[in-house]
Structure formats: structure tokens, C-alpha cells
């Protein structure tokens, strides 16, 4: 008993900190959810409610419904747009994630294990591109994409994502490989493996957590990307959720309920992905290699 009380101030501090952190990160999501189940007329009332007096699924119905009403009028359903944008978000994010993880897995290994002139300079240059603010390259990039005919194409958007998120992934994977003892690869070579074989069968499985981390980072960044698709995805051909949802604001009405319902649905894929991949983010894979 006495021990517990001795640490009481520290414990209270810790719990306070944790509570603040949870409030900070979960609060907005909760608020968005509450908004998405609040009837439209309650949304504009003066009193603030932590839970709506009359919860409603009508915004979700509007989102998924075949037909839709807005302010009492029959309007076109948003589902075709929403589903299209949802697919666009998924396709570009997944494609970018796959490409970034594959390129980083091999590229970073080359930066660590292969000897070639200018290796370190090249790496610094690649990573230095992280420091270039996106808006400075927007206009030249736009002209480049026009001349390549890549505006409003999956290829175009995916390529931009890859070039934006690859440096960080390369950086991360390079430190993963650097921390891995060379003797593991050497042992594989002496066992009769080619360099590629040793890489694929010995190095890659051990680099798994690093690759998963790269994948999560890239997917989350691509999923939340707003500025790039705002410029490069003008139509529903490639327009993602991040750009579509703010468009639910019409000239004379802001449909907060619908926007937040869409937002809550948009959280699902990254949430599921993180929950699924989380189990592979284990540490200690290297245990047992040495003495």
C-alpha cells in the first residue's frame, strides 16, 4: 500500500499525460463521428452535445444511398462519386505503397552493400529532396506532367507519390540494412548462394519489420495527400476522397453531416491496414544470429 502511495504524484502525472495524448489524437475523430450521426438541424443549434440527443444514420444513408435528399429536395446521389473517389484513393495509395516498398527494399540495399563511385553523394542527394518544399516544384512538375500526358492518370499521380515518399523509405531501409551484420550474407555466400539469392532469402525476411513500416508510412502519406491530387487529379477519373469530400460544400449549404460521415468511412482503410500490419512490426527478429 505505502509503495503505491509514494509514487502517486508520478502516477497521476503519467495518467494525465496519457489522457491528454488520447484526447489529442482521438478527440477529433470522435467529434467527427458525433457530427456524422447528428441530425442536420441539431448541427446548427447553439448548445453543444458530446452525444447527439437523437442519433441518426441519415448522413450515412445519404452517402451509400441510391438516391438522396438534401434540405428536403430530391438531389442526385453522392454514392457514384464517393465510391469512385474511394477506389481512386485506394488504387493510387496501394500502387504507390507497393512501388515504394519494392524500390526501397532493393535500392537501399544497393546503397549499403554495393560499392560504386559517388554512392554516398547520391544517397545524400536523394534524401536531400525531402527538404524541398512541395509548392516550389508544383509548377515545373505540372508542366512536365502535361508534356508527358500524365495529368489525371493513375500513372501520373502514383509516380508523383513514389518520388515524394521514396527518399524517406530509402533512408529508413538503409538504416535497417546497416544494422544487419554483413556476416549473415557472407555465410549465405559461403553456403553457395548468389548475392541476389542471399539478399532475397536471408536479408529480406529479416528486414520485414522495416518494410512493413515503410509500407504503413507510405500508405498513410498517400492516403492523406491533398495538394498533389488537387492539382493533378482534376476529374473523377483519378480524384481521391481527400479532394472530393471538401467539395460537398455547395454554394449555399455546408453539409457537415455528410462530410463527416464520408470522413469516418475514409478512416477505415488506413485503420484496417495498420491493424493488420501491426503484428509484423515486431522487434527482435535478429535475436539468435550471434552469441
Amino acid at each position: 500500500m505505502t509503495r503505491r502511495f509514494k509514487h502517486l504524484p508520478g502516477q497521476i502525472g503519467l495518467w494525465l499525460g496519457v489522457a491528454l495524448l488520447v484526447l489529442w489524437s482521438v478527440g477529433p475523430v470522435y467529434w467527427s463521428f458525433v457530427t456524422s450521426i447528428t441530425p442536420p438541424n441539431a448541427l446548427v443549434s447553439n448548445s453543444l452535445h458530446l452525444w447527439p440527443e437523437a442519433a441518426t444514420w441519415q448522413h450515412y444513408a445519404k452517402l451509400f444511398g441510391a438516391n438522396s435528399t438534401s434540405q428536403g429536395n430530391e438531389v442526385a446521389s453522392v454514392w457514384p462519386q464517393f465510391s469512385r473517389a474511394f477506389a481512386n484513393s485506394l488504387i493510387t495509395s496501394l500502387a504507390a505503397t507497393a512501388l515504394v516498398v519494392i524500390i526501397a527494399a532493393f535500392g537501399a540495399w544497393a546503397f549499403v552493400r554495393l560499392q560504386f563511385p559517388g554512392r554516398d553523394v547520391l544517397f545524400v542527394l536523394v534524401v536531400a529532396t525531402l527538404a524541398i518544399p512541395a509548392y516550389t516544384v508544383m509548377i515545373p512538375l505540372y508542366r512536365l506532367m502535361i508534356s508527358l500526358g500524365l495529368i489525371d492518370t493513375y500513372t501520373g499521380v502514383t509516380l508523383i507519390y513514389v518520388s515524394a515518399f521514396l527518399p524517406l523509405a530509402l533512408w529508413l531501409m538503409r538504416s535497417v540494412y546497416q544494422a544487419m551484420p554483413l556476416s549473415l550474407e557472407e555465410a549465405a555466400w559461403l553456403d553457395g548462394a548468389s548475392k541476389l539469392r542471399a539478399f532475397v532469402q536471408v536479408v529480406l525476411p529479416l528486414a520485414g519489420p522495416g518494410l512493413v513500416a515503410c509500407g504503413i508510412l507510405t500508405f498513410l502519406s498517400a492516403w492523406g495527400q491533398f495538394m498533389v491530387p488537387l492539382v493533378f487529379s482534376p476529374t473523377l477519373a483519378t480524384k481521391p476522397l481527400t479532394v472530393l469530400i471538401p467539395e460537398f460544400v455547395t454554394r449555399n449549404y455546408v453539409d457537415y453531416g455528410l462530410m463527416n460521415a464520408a470522413g469516418i468511412v475514409a478512416i477505415a482503410p488506413p485503420l484496417l491496414l495498420v491493424m493488420f500490419l501491426n503484428r509484423y512490426l515486431v522487434s527482435g527478429l535478429m535475436a539468435g544470429a550471434g552469441k
Binding site: A193, G288, K291
Partner: protein, 351 residues
């Protein structure tokens, strides 16, 4: 099975030369220990034989074939790494079978070979575990197992016992030697522990600072060290090496003492005598070096005595537990025919 031949091998990292022309041969089926102080180039030499390190000049041949340009995987060599380098994501079975799997052996062949190696090494109960579920000694055995399943031409060991505790080390020493006898393979064993080298090897190669100092059977190195470095390195506790002036059949030690020797060397020499070749006698006896005891250590089987006299320190080893204690004045007499003389400038053996 194959012989290994190393000819004038040098190694430079950029402009720093770390290996200055090393040559020696390992006969087919021989067990050679490569010893030397830390940083002398043992691992580098071993890695050059394995093909993991480029050879700057000279040649390495295995079974009569120069392998300088041959890739590691084509050299038919197995190596037990200083840090074992077990594949952490594979079971013991897969660790041991990996090399056979890579050369396309059938499942049945692999299973047989792995089972046999596991049997020899006492690893059968652990085949389905991963390396992290094993003790240090078991991991060491898996590393050995990985090397022996494919019966390579040459085994290379890089200080495989250096991190094990004393008891396990002695046990593994015997096991590795027994394994060598059983497989009859050519082995090169790197260690900086000269006891390990003495007990295990058919022949010892002593290196220092990228040069070969002496190569020969353990007892030859012990009985007739070619220079003062080998004399001091081989044998535990180390040989006493005293600065002296030699002249017409006698030497004068730094303490002023004069001793008779069976040599006609003249000039500045190093007078070498092993601790176990000093006999206890009274301080004023004929041919004795009078010294005062400063420490006495006993291990039960042996008694280790350090004694001083005018800036000269002698270490002696007795197995009959004489009644000697700190502060005693004693005489130590070099046994006849056990004295080694080395030129003090070049360190080379005289006579």
C-alpha cells in the same frame, strides 16, 4: 578434401598495408591454428582464403587451383564465423540444410545429411527450434553443423570459442578436434588463445602485425621458438625474457648477476627461460639468480611465483608446492639446456 597454399599474400586497405607477404601451406587433412595478437591480420587472412576479402597481391590456392578470382560460393569452403552468423529466421534444421538446398539436393538427401550432422553434434532434439531458443554452446554447435553437412574441401574457423565460458570452451575444443579426426578435413582455425592452438593443432602458424613469425608443430614452437616474439607468445605463463650481455660462454644480467651458458654468443642478447624451467634453490647457490618474492598465486595444481631483484622480474612455476611466501629471498636456477638466447636487436634465436 584439399590442401591450401598461401604464397606471398599481401593486403592493403587503401594506402595502409596490413599484410606484408605471408606464405605457408596446409596439407590435406591437416589442422592448422593461426594465432597472433589482436589486429595481426588473422581474420583478414582467413577471409581472403574464403573469398570474402580481396587479395591485394600473392596467391591463394585450394587443391592446386589458384582461387584469387573465384567467388566464395565456388570455393567449396565452409566457415564458422566469430559471431556464428546463424540465420535467425530459420529453424536449426533449415540453417544446417541451407547449403544443400542451394545446390539443389533433394529433400530426402538434405534430411539424411542434416540428421547425420545433428547426431554427431548432439543437436537432434533441437532441430525444430530457431537459433534464439538455443544456448550459446548449442548455437556454436549449429554453426559447426552448418559447416559439416555439406562436407566442404576446407573448414575455416574464426575464433569460434572466444565468447564461450571456460568449461564449455574446453569441451568444445575436444569436440572440434574429435570432429576433425572423424571427418579428416583440412581445417584452419583462428584463435588468439595460444592454449587453444597448442592443444588442438597439428601445426601452429604464429603471426604478428601482418607477418608470419613462425610455423611448426606446437612442441617445436615451444621448444625452439624462432624469435623472442614467438617465445613470449607461446607457452603459458609466458617465458621470462631478460636483457643481458653475452660474452665467451657467460651472460651478465641487468642485476649484475653472471650466469654460465652453453653458447658462444656475444653482445646484447635476450636471455629466455620458461617459468617451469626455473628450479628453486638457496639464494647463494651456484648459478642461481637471487630474487625476493613479490607475489605467490596458487591454482592447486601449480604455484605461480613472481620475484624481483634490481629491476629484474622473474616468474616461476612450481608443481610441488614449496614453502615460499611473499618477502622471502630465494634463488632460482635455470635448468640445464632450457635456456633460450635471442639477439636483442633482431629478436632472432641464437644457436
Amino acid at each position: 578434401m584439399a590442401e591450401v597454399s598461401i604464397r606471398d599474400v599481401t593486403k592493403s586497405y587503401g594506402s595502409t598495408k596490413v599484410m606484408h607477404g605471408v606464405s605457408f601451406d596446409v596439407a590435406d587433412g591437416e589442422f592448422v591454428a593461426l594465432v597472433g595478437p589482436s589486429g595481426c591480420g588473422k581474420s583478414t587472412l582467413l577471409r581472403m582464403i574464403a573469398g570474402l576479402e580481396e587479395i591485394t597481391a600473392g596467391t591463394v590456392s585450394i587443391a592446386g587451383r589458384v582461387v584469387n578470382e573465384v567467388e566464395p560460393k565456388a570455393r567449396d569452403i565452409a566457415m564458422v564465423f566469430q559471431n556464428y552468423a546463424l540465420y535467425p529466421h530459420m529453424s536449426v534444421r533449415d540453417n544446417m540444410g541451407f547449403s544443400l538446398h542451394l545446390r539443389g539436393a533433394s529433400k530426402a538427401e538434405i534430411a539424411t545429411a542434416v540428421a547425420r550432422a545433428a547426431e554427431i553434434l548432439g543437436l537432434t532434439p533441437y532441430l525444430d527450434r530457431t537459433p534464439k531458443q538455443l544456448s550459446g554452446g548449442q548455437r556454436q554447435r549449429v554453426a559447426m553443423g552448418r559447416a559439416i553437412v555439406r562436407q566442404p574441401a576446407v573448414f575455416l574457423f574464426d575464433e569460434p570459442l572466444s565468447n564461450l565460458d571456460a568449461a564449455l570452451r574446453v569441451q568444445m575444443r575436444a569436440e572440434i578436434r574429435a570432429l576433425h579426426e572423424r571427418l579428416g578435413s583440412t581445417s584452419i582455425f583462428v584463435t588468439h588463445d595460444q592454449v587453444e592452438a597448442m592443444t588442438m593443432a597439428d601445426r601452429i602458424v604464429v603471426m604478428r602485425a601482418g607477418r608470419l613469425e613462425q610455423a611448426g608443430p606446437p612442441l617445436e614452437l615451444y621448444d625452439r621458438p624462432a624469435n623472442a616474439f614467438v617465445a613470449g607468445f607461446i607457452g603459458s605463463p609466458a617465458m621470462n625474457l631478460l636483457a643481458a650481455q653475452a660474452d665467451s660462454g657467460q651472460v651478465r644480467l641487468a642485476s649484475g648477476q653472471v650466469l654460465q651458458i652453453e653458447s658462444h654468443a656475444a653482445g646484447a642478447v635476450l636471455f629466455g627461460i620458461r617459468p617451469e624451467h626455473l628450479a628453486l634453490c638457496s639464494p647463494d647457490a651456484e648459478g642461481a639468480i637471487a630474487v625476493r618474492v613479490s607475489t605467490v598465486e596458487s591454482t592447486g595444481t601449480a604455484m605461480f611465483v613472481a620475484a624481483q631483484n634490481d629491476g629484474l622480474t622473474l616468474h616461476a612455476l612450481f608443481t610441488d608446492r614449496p614453502a615460499v611466501k611473499r618477502g622471502d629471498l630465494i634463488g632460482l636456477r635455470p635448468m640445464a639446456g632450457m635456456v633460450h638466447l635471442f639477439d636483442s636487436a633482431s629478436g632472432l634465436r641464437l644457436g
